[in-house]
């Protein structure tokens, strides 16, 4: 018996310091600790069948990492998530699971757009000033054309931060003639700009990943 799951997981707190390769072994070991029977590839160098979406770069937190997996035992979505979560290390947690069948296109090949939140350590500086800051960030030559949507941002729920949301093009966009957004490099440059205004970046979070279908943004669960 084989079941395929697509799952979404968080990579928060100090787990943001794990590289993608580290995450692969952390995830594999956690699933083995949970006693979940994984399907392995054939051949001499057998690896479990895990296929990840485009990974968040090291140093950035994420609420939307995706992975496809095949297990060889019968279990429900909830059971899979709760068993895995009991074994996972701090900061990494499965937040949603969906069973699927057939052979959909790989996660790596369908993610076109990724949303990020940038938390700036100050309450909202006012609409005019905030637009000015964002404008100067988006006009940095290196990132022109890689960010397609952003707003002036708003206060975080607790009122401590000013949060900017932005959408960047992912790796697949190159085929569509778009430039790929590089969040690490962007944050580095953006930091200089906000420091100039006497502000500082506190936290960067990858919020969601989307596939574009006929102009519509679909999450990796919605495409299934």
């Amino acid at each position: 018996m084989e079941i395929k799951f697509r799952f979404k997981f968080l990579k928060e707190g100090s787990s943001k310091y794990l590289s993608h390769l580290d995450v692969i072994s952390v995830m594999t070991r956690a699933l083995r600790r949970a006693g979940i029977a994984l399907k392995y590839t054939e051949g001499f160098n057998q690896r479990p069948k895990l296929s990840f979406g485009p990974p968040v770069p090291l140093g950035i937190e994420s609420r939307a990492e995706y992975c496809d997996i095949t297990v060889v035992e019968d279990m429900t979505d909830e059971e899979f998530a709760s068993r895995a979560n009991e074994s996972l290390i701090g900061g990494i947690r499965i937040s949603a699971v969906k069973q699927f069948s057939g052979r959909p296109a790989s996660l790596m090949s369908i993610i076109d757009i990724i949303d990020y939140s940038i938390y700036i350590g100050s309450s909202y500086p006012g609409r005019e000033k905030s637009l000015e800051i964002i404008d100067s960030a988006c006009s940095i030559v290196d990132f022109k054309g890689s960010i397609h949507d952003t707003g002036a941002g708003k206060k975080s729920k607790d009122g401590k931060f000013w949060v900017i949301k932005l959408s960047g093009f992912a790796g697949t966009s190159e085929n569509m003639g778009m430039k790929v957004f590089r969040p690490v490099q962007f944050v580095e440059k953006f930091k200089e700009i906000v420091l100039y205004y006497g502000l500082d970046i506190e936290r960067v979070v990858k919020e969601e990943a989307y596939s574009l279908k006929e102009g519509e943004k679909l999450t990796p669960f919605e495409v299934l």
Partner: protein, 603 residues
């Protein structure tokens, strides 16, 4: 002794890690952490807080089994808690120093100076400067005599303190031998004094009576004018701590599992301690005796439990010589049977190659063919006899035939140069043996695989080590090593043979440190102050710092390296009773000398 525990906030750590290489080394986000949490730390009762420190980077230190064993034992007690600290890489050291942040443990990010006890695991002498560096970054005075009553106690264990002389300047005490039992005795006494008289001196006096514990402040060394030791006061030897039965301690079934990739990222299980072979150059072959084996049946059961707890896909059975573990076959078959269909791979790093073990290698690799490792150590039979490496060329070649005839295509060979009695012919024989092995392997291989054939040769510089029959012998000068390496390189040209060798300058420092006495301490301190650290990293080795330091301390390096020690002189490590009588070492030494002389008489 009682004091407030200070630690680093996570937010501050995040700021410190900006732009730092491999930040995962410093965050401690690992499965299997068993130290006590913040609640315990806030209200310790009669608790004792220990930092297990490894003076190399995280990736190298994490796989060290000794540290994992102690961590597991200490944290099994409700009143004790052990955390871990590793050497920061140079970029993070620079960041810590610039921001005046003290080095901290991984678990609760406690600054080193807030611990009751810091215990270093010293696996080799080239980690001495890193040890001082960690203390210093941790906000602790490096010289034990200058540390105040509130400073942590600092101790060390491991093979690089079987000669406790060189680190005596820095350590409150050192532990020689097995740590499993002694660690708890020490912590109970520490607890008694911490919550009793609060007197570190009284604690040290108490533990000095225990087997395995060396307290430097209890001893005085007297020297002759020529630099040799005149006497050691008191003349009492420290007896090595030994546990009789390995099986009385379960293997670690809940180790800490690193989040980032380490040098040996697998589940490690010790199957046997001590080695029955007694190769004359090998320190490990003597200091871990007596030979003690774990029962295969228990190993299978406990390993299965450990694999389930860790999720590891690879298990490594550790010993100094797996071929001498009598129940190897039933151990391997037992594990393979239990783990059928669960994708486990097994490694046996110390398997001695013979026709029997090729069968074992096939069994554990199940179709895969990783590289074979082979350590002839010397090229000529004469030399192998002198060092008591009991293997003949015929055995080597039989092994090559079977292995390369059944699918293997890569091999790694280990040799040593600068051995006692070595002549130019012996060096040339190394090159010849490598070529003969290559020829034999290529002949045994299917032609289709010839393109993939590869030999890696690693040439190490011989270092005479304490507690070996060769402890008295002289080390070759670095120039001689360079000539010898050159001679081997000149005689080998095949592109499928890749030769690497150890840095003779580094090996010379290692030799001086391992055969040094208490006077070496000041030289270690000065070399560190001049910038020496990570001495075993070729690209960071600071030769000038060491040479300057030896010079200003008037220590002639030759005295501890190129000099043949007298068999009658008092050796710096005579203060330790390693469990083997000096006359046994002497007999081995004389036997080797005899073999060297017979040969020169014939010629």
């Amino acid at each position: 002794m009682d004091k407030k525990i200070r630690s680093l906030q996570y937010g501050e750590l995040e700021k410190l890690l900006e732009g730092i290489e491999r930040p995962g080394r410093y965050v401690g986000n690992e499965a299997g952490i068993s130290s006590k949490g913040p609640g315990w730390l806030a209200d310790m009762g009669r608790g004792v807080l220990v930092c297990l420190a490894f003076p190399d980077i995280y990736e190298v230190g994490m796989p060290n089994l000794g540290l994992q064993i102690l961590y597991d034992i200490i944290n099994g007690y409700p009143c004790f808690s052990a955390e871990r600290a590793y050497a920061p890489w140079i970029d993070f050291e620079e960041r810590l120093r610039r921001t005046k942040t003290a080095l901290f443990s991984l678990e609760n990010r406690i600054f080193l100076d807030s611990f009751d006890l810091i215990g270093f695991s010293l696996q080799h002498e080239l980690l001495y400067t890193n040890t001082l560096n960690m203390l210093d970054i941790g906000g602790i005075e490096v010289i034990s005599g200058k540390r105040g009553p509130d400073a942590p106690l600092v101790c060390a264990g491991g093979p690089a303190v079987v000669n406790p002389g060189p680190m005596s300047r820095f350590m409150d005490f050192m532990v020689v031998g097995d740590g499993e039992e002694i660690i708890i005795e020490l912590l109970k006494l520490l607890q008694k004094h911490k919550y009793g008289d609060g007197n570190k001196g009284a604690f040290l006096k108490d533990i000095a009576k225990l087997d395995g514990v060396y307290v430097p402040s209890e001893y005085r060394f007297f020297f002759y004018n020529d630099g040799k030791i005149k006497k050691i006061e008191p003349p009492l030897k420290v007896k090595k701590a030994v546990i009789k039965d390995l099986d009385s301690f379960r293997i670690v079934t809940r180790p800490v599992i690193p989040g980032i990739k380490t040098v040996h990222d697998r589940y490690e299980v010790e199957i046997m301690r001590g080695c029955p072979r007694g190769c004359r150059f090998c320190q490990a072959g003597y200091i871990y005796r007596p030979v003690r084996k774990r029962k295969a049946e228990k190993l299978v059961e406990q390993s299965i439990e450990g694999l389930a707890n860790t999720g590891y896909e690879e298990i490594s059975f550790l010993s100094l010589s797996a071929s001498d573990y009598s129940e190897l076959d039933s151990l391997l078959k037992g594990i393979l049977e239990e783990m059928k269909g669960k994708n486990l791979s097994i490694s046996l790093p110390s398997l001695r190659l013979d026709s029997f073990s090729i069968g074992i290698a096939e069994l554990i690799n199940q179709g895969r063919r990783p590289g074979l490792t082979f350590a002839p150590e010397a090229g000529s039979q004469r030399m192998r006899d002198i060092i008591k490496k009991n293997i003949t060329e015929r055995q080597i070649m039989e092994c090559i035939d079977i292995a390369f005839g059944s699918g293997w295509e890569k091999i790694k060979l280990y040799f040593m140069i600068g051995l006692p009695g070595e002549k130019e012919e012996d060096i040339l024989e190394i090159a010849e043996l490598i070529k003969r092995i290559a020829w034999r392997a290529r002949k045994a291989m299917p032609r289709s695989k010839l393109k993939r054939f590869y030999i890696n040769v690693s040439i190490n510089v011989f270092i005479p080590k304490p507690f070996t029959p060769f402890q008295w012998t002289a080390q070759d000068a670095p120039e001689r090593f360079e000539e010898k390496i050159h001679l081997i390189l000149k005689n080998i040209s095949a592109r499928y043979i890749n030769i690497s060798w150890s840095n003779p300058d580094i090996s010379r420092i290692e030799c001086a440190l391992s055969r040094g006495d208490i006077r070496m301490g000041k030289a270690i301190e000065d070399a560190w102050k001049k910038g020496a650290r990570f001495d075993n990293w070729n690209e960071l080795f600071n030769r000038d710092a060491w040479i300057d330091s030896f010079k200003i301390n008037k220590i002639p390096v030759e005295f501890f390296t190129s000099r043949k020690y007298d068999t009658g002189e008092i050796l710096p490590w005579d203060i330790v009773d390693i469990g083997i009588k000096k006359r046994i070492f002497l007999a081995g030494y004389n036997k080797a000398l005899e073999l060297i002389n017979i040969d020169s008489q014939i010629k």
